[in-house]
C-alpha cells in the first residue's frame, strides 16, 4: 500500500464537446495521463462549452483537454476560451486533439489554444507536453 501522499498533483479535465460520440481517443489519453501521475477528471460525452467551463472552474484544473472529431473545433475552442475569460478563469490552459487540419490548428493557437495534437501523435508526446507545461507550477501560484 502507498503512503498518503501530500503535495500538488496536476489536474486535467478531459472533455468531449458537442455532437461527437467518438471517445476512444480521449479515454486512451486519459489513461496515459493517469499512468503519468495526473488526476484526470473525465466528464463524458456531449458536453456544452458552458458545462466544460463550469466543471473546469469547480474542479480547479490546470488545463482542459478537449477531444474533437466532429469538425466543430473552430466554434467550440473559441467559445470555451471566451467563457473562461468571462468566468475570470483565463489562467486555465486549453489544449486539445483530434481531426483538426494544420491551418485550423495554427489559427486556434493564435487565438489562445496552447497546443493541438493531431492523429498519429503518441501518448508519450502528449504526456511529455502536459508534464512540462503544468509540472512546474506550485499550489500557491
Amino acid at each position: 500500500m502507498v503512503e498518503p501522499v501530500s503535495g500538488r498533483r496536476i489536474r486535467i479535465l478531459m472533455a468531449k464537446a458537442g455532437l461527437d460520440g467518438h471517445d476512444r481517443g480521449v479515454k486512451v489519453v486519459a489513461r496515459a495521463l493517469r499512468d503519468a501521475g495526473v488526476e484526470v477528471i473525465y466528464t463524458g460525452l456531449h458536453q456544452t462549452p458552458e458545462q466544460v467551463v463550469s466543471a473546469a472552474v469547480q474542479e480547479d484544473v490546470d488545463g482542459i483537454g478537449l477531444s474533437l472529431l466532429s469538425g466543430a473545433h473552430m466554434t467550440l475552442f473559441p467559445r470555451i476560451l471566451e467563457l473562461l475569460k468571462e468566468r475570470g478563469a483565463a489562467d486555465i490552459v486549453v489544449f486539445g486533439g483530434g481531426t483538426i487540419p494544420q491551418e485550423d490548428a495554427e489559427i486556434l493557437k493564435q487565438a489562445g489554444v496552447a497546443q493541438i495534437f493531431t492523429p498519429g501523435t503518441s501518448t508519450d508526446t502528449i504526456v511529455g507536453w502536459v508534464k512540462e507545461r503544468f509540472g512546474g507550477r506550485t499550489a500557491a501560484a
Binding site: M1, A36, V40
Partner: protein, 325 residues
C-alpha cells in the same frame, strides 16, 4: 504574510458565493496543510449550517447516479447542493481517473450546485484526508446540503459515518449470502439502506437478508434503518430515498441526536489535531535529545524495554512543555 492575505481573499470569495474561490480553497486544502490551517481558521465561524449526507457502498452499486438523482430532487425543493465525490488514486503512478462527475453533468451549470471530484491520494478510509475540510468550504459557501460520495468500498471503510449526519449504504442485489449481512463493519453504519438496481431478479433475496439483519439487531435503537429500493438510472424510488433522508434528519433534530453526533465529531477532530501537534511539536523534537538516543541503545541491548523508553520520552516532552519551548 502572503499566505494570510491569499487565504483571506479566498475566504472573502467563498462567503460571497464564488465557485472559483471555493474550488481554489479545496485545492489548497488538498495540497498544503499549513496554508489550509489559516484558511479553515478564518472560515470556521461561517460553518455549521449545511446538512451532510454520506453515500457509501461497493463499486458499481450506483452511488454517483443516486447522488445525481438526490441533487435533482433537492434542487426541486429549493435546496442548494454541494457534492464531494471521491475516487481512488493509482497506488503505482499516483494518478487517477475521477469519473463520478459523468453521472452528474446535468447539474454542472446550475449555480446552486457545486461538484468536486477528489482523489483519495492513498488514504484508506473511503474518503480523502481533505474531504472533511472541503466539506467545511462547501458549508461556508452556503450549500444547504453537502453530499459525500466515498470510493467504492469493501467492508471496513467507515470514515464517512464520522463526517455525515445521515449515512446511506448503497447495496445491490446478489452481492452475497446472508452471512455477508451479519458481518461487522459497513452494515453497522447505515442510517438508511438502499438496494439499487432493484429490477434485478435477486432483489427479493437480498431484501429478505437485509430485513433479517435488522430484525436480529440486538441494539434497542430508536431509529431502525429503512430499506429503500431504487433503480437510479430510471429515478425509481429516489423520491422515497429523499423522504427517508428528510425523515432521518427530522428524527435527529427532534431527539437531539444531531447535536450529539456533531459534538462527538468535533471532539474527535480537536483530539486529532492536538495529537498531531503533540507529536510534531513535542515528541518528535524530544527524540533529538541525547537521552533518547541512550534510551534507544538500551532498548537495543535489552537493558530497557520499549515501554519504559516511551515513558522517558514522554517525561522529556513534558519537560519541554514546562520550559515553554
Amino acid at each position: 504574510m502572503a499566505i494570510a492575505a491569499a487565504s483571506q481573499n479566498l475566504v472573502d470569495g467563498i462567503l460571497a458565493g464564488s465557485h472559483r474561490a471555493a474550488a481554489k480553497a479545496i485545492s489548497l486544502i488538498e495540497n498544503d496543510e499549513r496554508a489550509s490551517e489559516q484558511l479553515i481558521r478564518r472560515l470556521y465561524p461561517q460553518t455549521g449550517n449545511a446538512y451532510t449526507v454520506g453515500l457509501t457502498g461497493p463499486p458499481g452499486a450506483g452511488k454517483s447516479t443516486l447522488v445525481d438523482d438526490i441533487a435533482q430532487i433537492a434542487r426541486g425543493d429549493g435546496e442548494s447542493v454541494g457534492i464531494i465525490a471521491v475516487d481512488p488514486n493509482s497506488p503505482f503512478s499516483g494518478g487517477a481517473i475521477l469519473g463520478d462527475r459523468i453521472r452528474m453533468m446535468r447539474h454542472t451549470v446550475d449555480p446552486d450546485v457545486f461538484i468536486r471530484s477528489m482523489g483519495s491520494r492513498g488514504h484508506l478510509g473511503g474518503l480523502a484526508v481533505a474531504t472533511s475540510q472541503a466539506r467545511d468550504v462547501l458549508d461556508a459557501l452556503g450549500m444547504g446540503y453537502v453530499i459525500l460520495e466515498t470510493v467504492g468500498v469493501g467492508q471496513s471503510e467507515l470514515e464517512v459515518a464520522e463526517l455525515a449526519d445521515t449515512t446511506v449504504v448503497v447495496l445491490m442485489p446478489g452481492l452475497g449470502d446472508s452471512v455477508q449481512t451479519i458481518k461487522a463493519g459497513i452494515m453497522e453504519i447505515a442510517d438508511i439502506f438502499v438496494i439499487n438496481k432493484a429490477d434485478h431478479p435477486a432483489l427479493a433475496r437480498t431484501a429478505a437478508d437485509l430485513r433479517e439483519l435488522l430484525r436480529l439487531d440486538p441494539r434497542q435503537r430508536a431509529w431502525t434503518p429503512p430499506i429503500v429500493k431504487t433503480v437510479a438510472t430510471n429515478e425509481d424510488g429516489v423520491h422515497e430515498l429523499w423522504q427517508a433522508i428528510l425523515k432521518h434528519r427530522r428524527f435527529l433534530e427532534e431527539k437531539g441526536g444531531l447535536k450529539e453526533r456533531r459534538r462527538r465529531r468535533l471532539e474527535r477532530q480537536v483530539v486529532e489535531i492536538a495529537a498531531r501537534r503533540l507529536r510534531e511539536e513535542v515528541l518528535v523534537p524530544s527524540t533529538e535529545a541525547s537521552g533518547f538516543r541512550r534510551a534507544v541503545q538500551a532498548v537495543t541491548d535489552r537493558r530497557l524495554d520499549p515501554y519504559a523508553a516511551a515513558d522517558q520520552l514522554m517525561e522529556e516532552g513534558a519537560k519541554r512543555v514546562a520550559a515553554g519551548s
